[in-house]
Amino acid sequence: MSGAADAESGKGEAADGPGPDADGHRPGVLIRRPRRGDPVVAVSVAVASTVLFFGAIAWAVVTAPDFPRVQRAFLNGPLFEESLPEVVRAFQTNIKLFLIAEVLVLFFGLVLAVMRSLPGPVFFPLRLLAVAYTDLLRGLPGILVIFLLGFGVPGLNIEGVPNDPFFWAVVALTMIYAAYVSEVYRAGIESVHPSQEAAARSLGLRRSQALRYVILPQAVRRIVPPLLNDFLGLQKDTVLVSFIGVVEIFRASQIKQAGNFNFTPYLATALVFIVVTVPLARLTDYLVTRSRRGQARGGFR
């Protein structure tokens, strides 16, 4: 539709635009038309270049000297069929992990962000704590945090402290991602113009009320895309907790691999992740584009 409109306006321009120059080109108009004007040409070019590009890569892989060996190790059809249902079953543990952790992360991330934005000298210790926490947890490799909590704390043998690896997996993932998400919240809060708080406070709203009714609702709308990005990371990082003994999808595929001396189960696991994460990545991109368009329009709802 827009292509047709472009062609239309192109014609109009060409009709009453400046005449051809020495080389027979009309400045601006004719150069643009063949590229953007004709959708059939554009689509054909895109298809041809895509086939050529990926075809070349596929050809390079398939004709590699040791491809048959790799094929046997990674692309075993019957084993793939056999392991797929098993890793899907194990993936339920990952789903449970990230669903629980995401809810907790949303909560603790907000607590940290609000702690860090408290004004006045009285709240200095709380601000310091929040800053130290986010710096530390973002600075440590996630796998270390998972090891330290998953093996360290139960190792203390304190009465009443659970030693279930799933519990510590949730705690570790929540602690790591709450640090990241608190920064996302903070950026969102700071992106709301100070005049909004002034307007709210001028009505007599307390600072906490202004935060709750005016600032956070606007901040949250803007941080949905970066928040989904962090959740994407969290979902993938659920495989890390396999190292403290949680039997989840990666551990399950490892067991299967070891039993068959074949890497195909990992391919099944990769497929499961792609099915879950790629749509989320697409959704995130879509939301980013939409919110950018909304801001250009001057409104955001």
């Binding site: 709210a200 001028s202 009505l203 009320q209 009714y213 609702p217 606007q218």
Partner: protein, 253 residues
């Protein structure tokens, strides 16, 4: 003006305010009687907006005292939020809450601060929206409204708190010229209704029409004040004269 005129609506004494090393207000004294309309004029940067923001306690003051009625709102330990309820402010850039409908914008204060029920708050809001010709916009979000409509909603939002004093901070400066009149009409109606107001403005003609008194701010002090006719026609201070000449040259009087 009325029987209680003994206690002024607002008293500002020796008010000082600095931003960093820049002293923006350098000892402001201002008394506003109940039902009085005071216009603040002066060049950009003369301190008009800062004065209004200080009166509403949106800026911390560095020296001086502010009384609303008989209460000192700048006293140590004063309940800032309670004092703000009694003082409405309308901003140059409207500052409506973009994520809320017009009705939600207007009812937020009455519901959360005054503790009105949703029904009572909405009745109060509808009454005001109706009075200013906005009632058919009540469910719309601010981005669907013209600038003039947004600014009128902002005025209604401030009025819904039933303030004793209304501060208007250059409320027509961000509007397209053809939208200025509808907003000024609202202010004129409020003035006739006896609302105590302080307005910072560049609209000299309007200030002359609506204000009981005009104060000329220059470099953080009130250099000269008086009834509109006197101040605009025969200013005493040289700086006032020069300012007004520039305004006339710009065709704004």
């Amino acid at each position: 003006m009325s029987g209680t005129a003994a206690v002024p609506a607002l008293r500002v004494q020796r008010l000082h305010k600095s931003f960093g090393r820049t002293e923006v207000l350098r000892g402001i004294d201002l008394t506003v009687a109940e039902h009085e309309v005071v216009a603040l004029i002066g060049a950009s940067g003369s301190g008009k907006s800062t004065l209004l923001r200080c009166i509403n306690l949106l800026e911390e003051i560095d020296g001086g005292r502010i009384f609303v009625g008989s209460e000192e709102i700048t006293a140590r330990g004063a309940d800032v939020d309670r004092h703000r309820q009694r003082i409405g402010i309308v901003f140059q850039t409207f500052n409506l809450f973009p994520h809320m409908s017009v009705l939600a914008n207007v009812t937020l204060g009455p519901r959360k601060v005054l503790g009105l029920s949703r029904g009572d708050a909405e009745r109060r809001a509808d009454e005001l929206l109706d009075r200013f010709g906005l009632v058919e916009k009540r469910q719309d979000h601010p981005d669907r409204l013209s600038g003039g409509q947004q600014q009128r909603v902002a005025i209604v939002r401030a009025l819904a708190m039933r303030p004793d004093l209304l501060l208007l901070d250059e409320i027509t400066s961000a509007l397209d010229p053809e939208l200025v009149a509808e907003v000024l009409d609202v202010v004129r109606e409020l003035a006739q209704g006896g609302m105590t107001m302080i307005l910072a403005t560049h609209e000299m003609g309007f200030a002359r029409d609506v204000a009981d008194r005009i104060c000329f701010l220059d470099e953080g002090v009130i250099l000269e004040q008086g009834p509109p006719d006197q101040l605009l026609r025969s200013p005493q201070q040289e700086r006032t004269q020069r300012f007004l000449q520039r305004v006339i040259a710009a065709g704004r009087l």
